[in-house]
Subunit: 112 residues, 2 copies
DNA sequence: TTCTTATGCATAAGAAAATTATGTATACTT
DNA sequence: AAGTATACATAATTTTCTTATGCATAAGAA
């Protein structure tokens, strides 16, 4: 996430959420999907993405499958069973966090 | 912010926002206010808070004033003029970020 | 034909921003 | 006497980025 330098710590949750909806995705596809959804405002760098994917795989949350497409390698990632559970947990935690952050940013609503 | 380990990078914005509303606050007060507003879900640690306050002061965004209250030192922080401007900017950036994050977490709404 | 952009993965060096642990000090409660 | 609350501060470590670099193929522009 280059443009804003905000919200370090949410990348893994974003990845898990996207994979919850898409069955399988490859790295480059994830960067493009995020860019598309956020109208170009989030740019996930490879230096952040690939280490994060590798870590999630090492933790047993993602499984991989490599394909050759048009003479290029694609490494597809899918949620494991544990990954699916963790996706729910992490998304819920992040949403909870956002609610609290909104209370801080918008105290009139929060304490109304 | 100990409990969730999320949203690293938003602490400075939270501080600026609180000071935008409160004229002046001291460190311990900030930790208690955040805890109160978020019903105990955000716990700002001293190890995060004080370095962040010092940095904001070094950047000219905050000014300080020390008082003795009941035999204890309190260091009050206030927004400078530049701090006030920066508070607006950072809050707007964070809100913008949250909008995009919501699009990722709630794609059905985002692309509706 | 050469350069740039796009596609696709990966790692290393460095910076930023936390966590955790520690230290000092006063005051109140158990 | 020990623990909790108030109040500030810093150091060591960890996490998670950014930036830079590297490899490789393909397509389009100059």
């Amino acid at each position: 996430m280059s443009s804003s330098k905000l919200l370090k710590g949410s990348l893994a949750t974003i990845i898990l959420k996207l994979l919850e909806e898409n069955e399988k995705m490859y790295g480059y596809e994830i960067t493009q999907r995020v860019k598309e959804i956020t109208a170009g405002e989030f740019k996930i760098t490879e230096g952040a993405l690939y280490p994060s994917l590798h870590k999630l795989e090492a933790e047993g949350l993602l499984s991989t499958e490599t394909q050759m497409v048009e003479n290029r390698v694609r490494k597809y990632y899918s949620l494991t069973k544990e990954g699916n559970a963790e996706a729910h947990t992490k998304v819920a935690e992040l949403e909870d966090f956002l609610v609290n952050l909104q209370k801080l940013l918008n105290p009139k609503l929060g304490l109304g």
